[in-house]
Assembly symmetry: C2
Homo-oligomer: 266 residues x 2
């Protein structure tokens, strides 16, 4: 039987030199001193990305960190990667380009090993591009600031978390326009915009915010969209009555019920 997803979805630019609140939470969820973390830098073209995270996770007390070489699809077929993921307590997906990440690992044995372990309850953490790929439909790219169908391009993601579309670097890059376009076109999704150095911690349908920024949740379920799909892709879409939640660290949200929970007492 498959377990509820156990995800750490990070909006990018998380602290790696100070208290490392978010990356420490990744280690904690992965088992603390017995954490075995597989870093998958498939989204990145920078050779040092994997090693940089390995250094931080080791400093934060993980028992073991492996960096998987997935610099091409061929590399993603390496049988040793499957073994590493099979033994891992968490996988960490770095930033870079979410389309590159999907191109490199989608449908490979590594992808299957990842999904097998997710069903067994393994933690998956991802930042920036590694956050975007967690949903079934992801934002591939787009202009941040226009509520317009041709301002955003979507593509299939890893399908680790149903019912949402994630956007990252959210406030820093002023991306509410493109996320509004997504929920206007696909109102069955919650739009989840995560600021930098901020994470949404998800266990099943329950989510909690951690970090310095805010998580913005857009719910167009009750909105008047006036057939957004009939608006020409080059024209602005209007939405009336979208419900917006802007949640700071510690606040909790029920993704299935689409509602914010009261803050803890005191």
């Amino acid at each position: 039987m498959s377990r509820a997803p156990n995800l750490v979805i990070i909006g990018g630019a998380e602290d790696k030199t100070g208290p490392c609140t978010i990356l420490a939470e990744v280690v904690r969820r992965a088992g603390g001193r017995s954490a075995r973390i597989a870093v998958i830098p498939a989204a990145s073209e920078l050779a040092e990305t994997g090693a940089d995270y390995a250094t931080v996770f080791e400093r934060l007390g993980a028992e073991r960190v492996d960096i998987l070489d997935v610099s091409s699809r061929e590399h993603a077929h390496a049988p040793e990667h499957e073994d590493v993921v099979a033994a891992a307590t968490a996988v960490f997906l770095t930033g870079g380009d979410q389309v590159r990440l999907m191109n490199r690992i989608g449908g490979t044995p590594l992808d299957r090993a990842l999904h097998r372990r997710v069903e067994e309850g393994m933690v998956v953490a991802g930042t920036s591009a590694g956050a975007a790929v967690m949903s079934g439909t992801m934002i591939a790219d787009g202009d941040a600031d226009r509520v317009q169908a041709n301002a955003v391009r979507t593509a299939p993601g890893l399908e680790l978390l149903p019912g949402v579309v994630i956007d990252q670097h959210f406030a820093q890059r002023g991306r509410i326009g493109r996320l509004l376009a997504v929920v206007a076109l696909y109102p069955h999704f919650l739009g989840v915009g995560i600021d930098e150095d901020t994470a949404l911690l998800v266990r099943g349908h329950h989510a909690r915010v951690l970090g310095r920024g805010s998580v913005t949740i857009l719910d167009a379920g009750s909105a008047t969209l006036n057939d957004a799909t009939e608006v020409p892709p080059t024209a602005r879409i209007s939405l009336a009555g979208v419900t917006l939640h802007s949640l700071a660290s510690g606040r909790e949200f029920e993704l299935m019920e689409r509602r914010s929970l009261a803050p803890p007492a005191g």
Copy 2:
């Protein structure tokens, strides 16, 4: 008896060389061929700002355009300014710095002449800083991207339109964070974010969008704010259940009722 406000509130960077949709609407509202427009460049430090608008308004067919020299408070006391405003069918407030604009004209005879004519139904149009000052409380400055009390500073405005706080260059500068902070602290105000080359045309409580971008309206009236005023000014404020409207050109909104109107049929 005072008339309902007749305002053209522009989010900045409106077209001045192409079809000039928004500035042509200013001329139309001001009386078209009999329009007499007083340009008040008090927000600007650039000597050419007033003349640039005069050129456009004359090209668009206004009968007469006067540029008021309000480069200091002393200049704002010039009796001839009162005569110009008394005869004007519209006043146009340029961009620049909204605090400078208020410092230069607030409480002067020009300010009184302006309010007297507004009560008689004169059109007031303003762009950017000239848009910000239309409300009773305006955003003086602030960081765009943080939902935090110390990220935004408010100051008194011209009180031409009650019940709202206006933000401009809205999508282009990613300002939803600071506007959310304002409505969290002052939920009696609607937050009105206007994109560049976009205007909100207001007559009384009725508003209509015109231009290339969107107008974003934030209504925290039904939101759960958990005493935002008790959150330390350096901490993120959480808001749950804010109602958001993102309205494209042609869409209408009732400001008093806080609701979007159905789009025109067809």
